[in-house]
């Protein structure tokens, strides 16, 4: 990982926080206060903000990077200068994944802290917040989604967008299924072919490429299995490797265009 790229990318992201983001935080806080005053259950809200789909969307905004974007030509000279320095492309990819993971954690963390403060301010009897397992899962997911998003951003934009939609679909699907929602019962999809495709897609992603890990399930399992850990690690490595291969292919020169 490159210390300079990490430090200055984080500084850049900080400088990019706009009034819109501050306004959004204020609105969310007011919403949490209202929910706490109405004695609403915060468990579903916590689920929404720690849901993989939320992490995915957050990560997508943080992973935006012109060096990774295969179609970006306008700032070739900028990256020419950067990569003329002793910065290896794998270290660049790794750094951007860390930045994305930090971005996800800071965003979700801020929302969860606002939720906690709202509950404390309104004197809720039962405080809903992350337990140790959920916190660990969140950190692990932030890292893996960071890797995934950097990989998706490195793909040509058309493929990247399609892949992003599929992942969102699968992540949201995963969340719905975890709530016991049955596709054919609760979601009005009438075409059986669509249902089958949808299920195959979700299953495949969740079985092979799903970048999250449920630490609670691992800890509470009667027999310890390495499979989720191996799957998680190999997926993260796969995304990092994919992004590095794609970045290695890029040429940084205005002469190219």
């Amino acid at each position: 990982m490159n210390r300079a790229v990490l430090r200055f990318t984080l500084l850049l992201k900080l400088s990019q926080i706009s009034k819109f983001e501050w306004a959004l935080c204020t609105l969310l806080f007011l919403g949490f206060i209202a929910a706490a005053a109405a004695k609403s259950d915060f468990a579903p809200i916590l689920e929404v903000f720690t849901n993989p789909a939320t992490l995915l969307v957050t990560g997508y905004t943080f992973a935006r990077d012109s060096a990774l974007n295969q179609e970006s030509r306008s700032d070739g000279e900028y990256f020419a200068l950067l990569f003329s320095r002793p910065v290896t492309r794998p270290s660049y990819v790794l750094t951007k994944s860390v930045v994305t993971a930090v971005g996800i954690l800071v965003t979700v963390g801020t929302i969860l802290v606002l939720m906690l403060v709202a509950q404390l301010l309104m004197g809720c009897s039962e405080i809903i917040f992350l337990d140790a397992h959920k916190a660990l899962s969140l950190v692990a997911s932030a890292w893996s989604f960071g890797c995934l998003m950097v990989f998706l951003r490195a793909l040509p934009s058309k493929i990247s967008n399609i892949a992003f939609v599929i992942f969102i679909y699968a992540c949201a699907g995963g969340a719905l299924l975890s709530y016991g929602v049955k596709l054919n019962d609760d979601i009005p999809i009438s075409n059986p072919a669509t249902i089958i495709t949808w299920e195959i897609m979700c299953d495949t992603l969740q079985q092979f490429f799903y970048p999250a890990i449920d630490t609670e399930a691992i800890a509470n399992a009667t027999t310890f299995s390495f499979v989720p850990l191996v799957s998680y690690t190999s997926n993260c490595l796969l995304y990092l490797l994919g992004a590095t291969v794609l970045l290695n292919r890029r040429e940084f020169s205005y002469a190219e265009s």
């Binding site: 850049l12 000279e77 003329s84 320095r85 002793p86 910065v87 040429e251 020169s253 002469a255 190219e256």
Partner: protein, 310 residues
Amino acid sequence: MIEITNLSKIYKNKKGASKVLDGVSLSVREGEVLGLIGPNGAGKTTLMHCMLGLVHPTSGNILINGHVPNHLAVKRILAYLPERPLFDGWMTARQFLQYHHMLSGGKDSTAKDDIEGVLDLVQLESSARSRIIRTFSKGMLQRLGLAQMLVGNPKLCFLDEPTSGLDPVSRNLVRSIIGKWKEEGATVILNSHHLDEVERVCDRVAFIQKGRIELIERTRQIENARVSVILKWTGPAGAEERLHEVAAHALFECEIAGPYTARFILRTKSQIPVLVRGLVDAQLDVEELFIERSRLEELFNQGEGKKSDE
């Protein structure tokens, strides 16, 4: 230091393929200042970018100190100034240099002194040092670009059109920095359209056209090449005879190119003082005396001529 063997680069896009470099072979010694000249689109920047490891050659090899250009050992000693400096506009000049100081592996403990040192060297005014880069003029950006090159204390410097769009003071600054590198034994690759500048600072000049190196000459050879000097005078009458006498005495060729205009062909540039002395002795009222065309300009024009023939 740099060994390039049979380097080719083909860019492919939807419209087809275009060969930008075609079998380039070149070697650059350590401590040498090499100028790359050639018309627009000749492949100079692509060649430079191949040496920087930013562009993947289609075929051929580049070795810098025995390593491929992307090797960290190479990146640690090189610095690059792009033709179109696109720096981080949101940073201040000091932050930007701190960034490059870190990127080049500089020690945190020396960062502040190193940065102020290079800012002094490039003469960036104090008020600009804490200003954000977005507000900089072209000249200030170029000075900042030079400063970022200097922070890493490089041994191999690549400059792509470093003086384009600069005022004479800034151009002199660029020249003096190249001179400093030369004194320190750094290797410099300079891509420039300013032929006088190339002639002045480079040890050798490579003329590139259509992706090929057409010619490599030592600047001393260029200095020693024939020079055409134009003289314009206002009097006295019958000066033509005196001019022929001056030429015959110093073994120059002389031809009357028009009314009150003559052309001298000197064997080398070093004969210019002899010519001037002769003209003073001949008591001519000289209006103007200038070098008609340098050797590099000739090369350039030959290239352009070939281009238009096709």
